[in-house]
């Protein structure tokens, strides 16, 4: 690790429909750049053209020779693809390493006094991405079953568990499920980073943990609560020709835009407006990260087809 400081995301604006704006971290933790680059490569292959931002041997000369990539050695380039790296750093500092008065974070999995290094956590995350890629064409199963299989199959670097069923189960639905939230970019259309609370010790005895509720491959990660409809209404042979905006608008229902993907094509509280997800926003700022990761994060994302459950 090159340099470590405390990492805190300062941006906690929850306004849902405001325009994108820039945000910055007041303090940062720097993940070793080659490891950050590995995580990036696992998620996005070689689609990116900003590798300089991940170079370990950064020097002012190198930036001045390529001023369009004017990135300081202490932050990432401005691209939605760097959000998983930022979230990983924040996950380790704010959760894995956190010292809480009341309950810790997966203390029986990652240790209580001695915590795993940032690099070990991220290397396990990379293994998780590779594992998820390898099961992309399998039959859908609950996330917790996949994560359990991952824990059993992989030699993890950041955990201390003995291999007992109870430990494996807790790691799978807590710590690894949180890792999954990062690599799958869960709630990327929200103004907040993914909620990484599955592994908190106080949640160890949750009756229905999140990882038990969704199946993969499947779109339940991004659209957790599909509206209830009859099987007859779901018939694939049902025509959808009347779903034309002008026709819908000519009747009692009107449209309203939303910035939250999970609310796309759902009705608002009074049941009269259909919310439509606006997947584009303002330009990505040149120097700093945008406030929202946005749906653009899935462009070239390795797990895109897996979490959208696209067969073709």
């Amino acid at each position: 690790m090159k340099s470590v400081k405390a990492a805190i995301m300062i941006d906690d604006d929850t306004s849902s429909d405001s325009e994108d704006s820039e945000s910055s971290r007041t303090e940062i933790t720097l993940l070793d750049r080659p490891i950050a680059a590995k995580l990036h490569k696992a998620l996005y292959g070689s689609s990116s053209n900003y590798s300089l931002g991940f170079d370990t041997d950064w020097s002012p000369d190198r930036v001045s020779s390529n001023p369009t990539l004017g990135v300081s050695p202490f932050d990432y380039v401005s691209s939605v693809q760097t959000f998983p790296m930022v979230w990983s750093e924040d996950f380790v500092v704010n959760e894995v390493w956190a010292e809480r008065k009341k309950g810790g974070y997966s203390s029986s999995v990652v240790g209580k006094a001695n915590k795993p290094p940032l690099a070990a956590v991220v290397m396990d995350m990379i293994d998780l991405v590779e594992f998820l890629k390898s099961i992309a064409s399998e039959e859908p199963k609950k996330l917790v079953e996949w994560t359990k299989e991952f824990v059993q199959r992989t030699q993890l670097r950041s955990v201390l568990i003995s291999g007992e069923e109870a430990d494996v189960d807790w790691a799978a639905r807590g710590y690894i499920a949180d890792m999954f939230s990062i690599v799958a970019c869960v709630s990327c259309t929200s103004a907040k980073p993914p909620s990484l609370v599955c592994g908190q010790d106080e949640r160890q005895h949750d009756r229905i943990p999140w990882a038990h509720q969704i199946k993969l491959p499947g779109s339940g990660v991004l659209l957790p609560n599909p509206p209830p409809v009859s099987l007859r209404a779901l018939e694939p042979s049902n025509p959808v020709l009347e779903l034309k905006a002008s026709y819908v608008d000519s009747g009692p229902f009107k449209f309203k835009r939303t910035r939250h993907l999970d609310k796309h094509l759902t009705f608002n509280h009074d049941g009269q407006k259909i919310r439509l997800f606006q997947y584009w926003g303002s330009e990505i700022p040149k120097e700093r990260l945008p406030k929202y990761a946005s749906i653009r994060i899935y462009q070239d994302h390795a797990l895109r087809r897996f979490i959208f459950n696209l067969n073709s």
Binding site: V229, S230, A233, P236, P239, V240, L243, F253, H264
Partner: protein, 120 residues
Amino acid sequence: MSLLFSRDDKSIKLAEHLFTTGKKLPLEFWEEGFYVHPSSYLADYQVFRPHLAHVQTRMKEWRPAGLSDLATKGYVDRMGWFTGIFGLAGGIIGVLSLVTSIAQIVLAVGAWKHPVPAPV
């Protein structure tokens, strides 16, 4: 989005009004990876199939809940709604003509009973 907005000019105008407050839609609206040519069946919408089916169901099940809703066109049996509105308009015209006829009769009877002397 393409299912909703790409099939007629009125829908495109609606999208412009909704997303860009009247300006031209950004290229991303049309070029985004999620854009597909709209097809005619639910089978082609894997991710949002329950959502589309839900909207369809709500559209089919909508009924006026009060007097004010009577003026709103539903999505089912629009012919019935037009017939109803036409009938209502006919009824109002009928009632008005009846009132006018009664007023005419009253005035005629008044004029018969109290004839105005012809000017000399």
